[in-house]
Symmetry: C2
Subunit: 441 residues, 2 copies
Amino acid sequence: MTSSTALLTDRYELTMLGAALRDGTAARPSVFELFSRRLSGGRRFGVVAGTGRLLSLLRDFRFGDDELRFLHDGGVVDAQTLKYLENYRFTGSVHGYREGELYFPGSPILTVEGTFADAVVLETLALSVLNHDSAVATAASRMSMAAGERPLAEMGSRRAAEMSAVAAARAAFIAGFGSTSNLEAGRQWGIPTMGTAAHSWTLLHDTEEDAFRAQIESLGTDTTLLVDTYDIRTGVETAIRVAGTGLGGVRLDSGDLPTVAAAVRTQLDALGATGTKITVTSDLDEYAIAALAASPVDFYGVGTSVVTGSGYPTAGMVYKLVARQDPSGSWVGVAKASTDKASKGGRKAAFRTLRDGVAVAETVVVSDGFEAISTGAEHPDSRSLQVMLVDGGEIDDAHEGVQGTASAREHHLRVREEMPVRALALSKSDPAIPTVFVDAE
Amino acid sequence: MTSSTALLTDRYELTMLGAALRDGTAARPSVFELFSRRLSGGRRFGVVAGTGRLLSLLRDFRFGDDELRFLHDGGVVDAQTLKYLENYRFTGSVHGYREGELYFPGSPILTVEGTFADAVVLETLALSVLNHDSAVATAASRMSMAAGERPLAEMGSRRAAEMSAVAAARAAFIAGFGSTSNLEAGRQWGIPTMGTAAHSWTLLHDTEEDAFRAQIESLGTDTTLLVDTYDIRTGVETAIRVAGTGLGGVRLDSGDLPTVAAAVRTQLDALGATGTKITVTSDLDEYAIAALAASPVDFYGVGTSVVTGSGYPTAGMVYKLVARQDPSGSWVGVAKASTDKASKGGRKAAFRTLRDGVAVAETVVVSDGFEAISTGAEHPDSRSLQVMLVDGGEIDDAHEGVQGTASAREHHLRVREEMPVRALALSKSDPAIPTVFVDAE
């Protein structure tokens, strides 16, 4: 195995490249745009996530001997194309939404500029990363808004492919979760990790009491005991008998949670364990979290629903050629005409228009060419949404790694505050703000 | 970055391990079982996939310096546990369903045996791989049955995280797809790759005709031209004018496919291109494929729906302790008691019971202990479903790599034939055959 990411690519990108090298169009200056035509599931906003991961993967997007041999042996491309790929390194530019930013239909999330050859080969990698991570972040942000001040832990690794699980933990963290069960996500992205024991821990022991005693011996009284392996009432009683009233918490992983949480709170208080927290972890999604708002719950653990985007596991973003030069060197805005998948040609600049600090529109200024597009600075009530991510092949490392992840989270939590109140509602609806396209000049 | 897979693990597995090393229960012989309580989405069968990938990942499940440092610095486990992990290598045994096999509620898909310490740490990795890959394979198998003799290509990489995309291509192939657009899946798993051109190819050129001409120049007349960038009727006419009536195929990626496919077939035939194939690729799932059965379509390309499990992106499998020894060395079957998540304790042997070659039941023989469980050989009308995958730490490499993938596909296509006709129906229902639990002895 190599660490190259270059084959995480659909074959047609390389066959197009081969044909373009042959007819000379490979060198045409081109602009590709990554955007979403709509918000999946009647969501009121989307959350951009994956940008930092994408930039790191782009560093490894090189065709080494192994990759070239596979392409040669499989007859995927011809000798001229192999030669081009051997030296390939993305030397174009990418600007786009900051990771953690909100997006709406038509928001120009990423704009990739270079020759056609430079940019066409990044389609699959860019979409894979952003579609997955943004789907998770969008669901996670809704959950974190529904949870209010109560902390959320992501614990869905087992319900996602092993590497997506790490990416999902990161996306959930950016969108407001406070911790993850996934150790690799802790190592790679600096996310706090959590977790104490499963049902197997209790079942391994001859009695529940033995299990609780051993856990406290190892992890201290401040630990969280899982009390629903046998009978919850007995479990809680045993937990407090063994740990004392200073027990950190109990975890409930089954049953009708509002009913069970209320009963357990009453029982804990009656036993004098008024400071013992209640964690719930059974099949939660944003709706279940909202329904628990009035219940005595202190901590939510969310699994399946967050890593699978709560019903919408992919964000539906696309990567389209929106402008390219003609043989005379003039820019031409281009777009597919088919009625059900139409897109908007031209280069775009995006602003969030605010009124009294509240977002009222996603303003997208469209230009056919490379004319200077007015910037946010000229609009006192607008916030410019795009930043430079890759400049002439140079990747801005501020967006990568642990630091990039932390700053994406801060950015998300900050810009989410700009949204009108209707953005908080969980029901299906139109986007919280409209996207307004404006012609440049 | 290291290639270790050991941190693709939920933190609680290591905290349980630490506590068990401390109280001595870590050494208790234990049996964990990976199974599904139900079939997601009212599906009539599930398809086991991921086994070959899991075995390869298990080879790299070792705690190296980097992993140990992270666990130490983060205070995840104590010194005794670090010492244990430093030498950890799975030395237990795993037997289970062959990859590509069908499964039903309660099927003992994997059985992991060893000490508690051996087996508890594999929970997340095993579930991540099998839940994802089986969800994709289950959806893919339904699509491939709906497509009948018409070939299917998987092209959903852009709608899945970059590494899951590779795993999804493999799972779809095992379940009957014939090819993938994903080059890495071609390299790693030997899956045929496909793909020619996107809309950007046409938009890059000054005219559609220029684009078609250049593609044919590069890829030959046998290529497939994408004809829906502007007007489909004009696109088809241009395609045949440029390529001649020997054009390999045209691809349709938008519109109402039954209507459009019929019109394009009529047009192609009228132009004399009676051998030109029609590929359709727009938002297909098993229902859309079934609805196109009477349409003149030759080839399906499926994206989003297959890589996201067509509405059910995770299989919902769990990994539970089902038996362990007590201090006297006697085996005890164990199970969680909670009513909504109850599971069945004991060690299990599984058989598909057939009548006249048609499956009638999933028979699961349950034993509390390690008594010999009667094998399939003793049941002339049954097929034994479990094979040894890891024997005392030795991994059977027949299930791994390109060869393991190909043989899983063969196995799937063979055992699918045993199913009763009702298994073919796409509507939500009970499983196609019941699971019957029988006590051993």
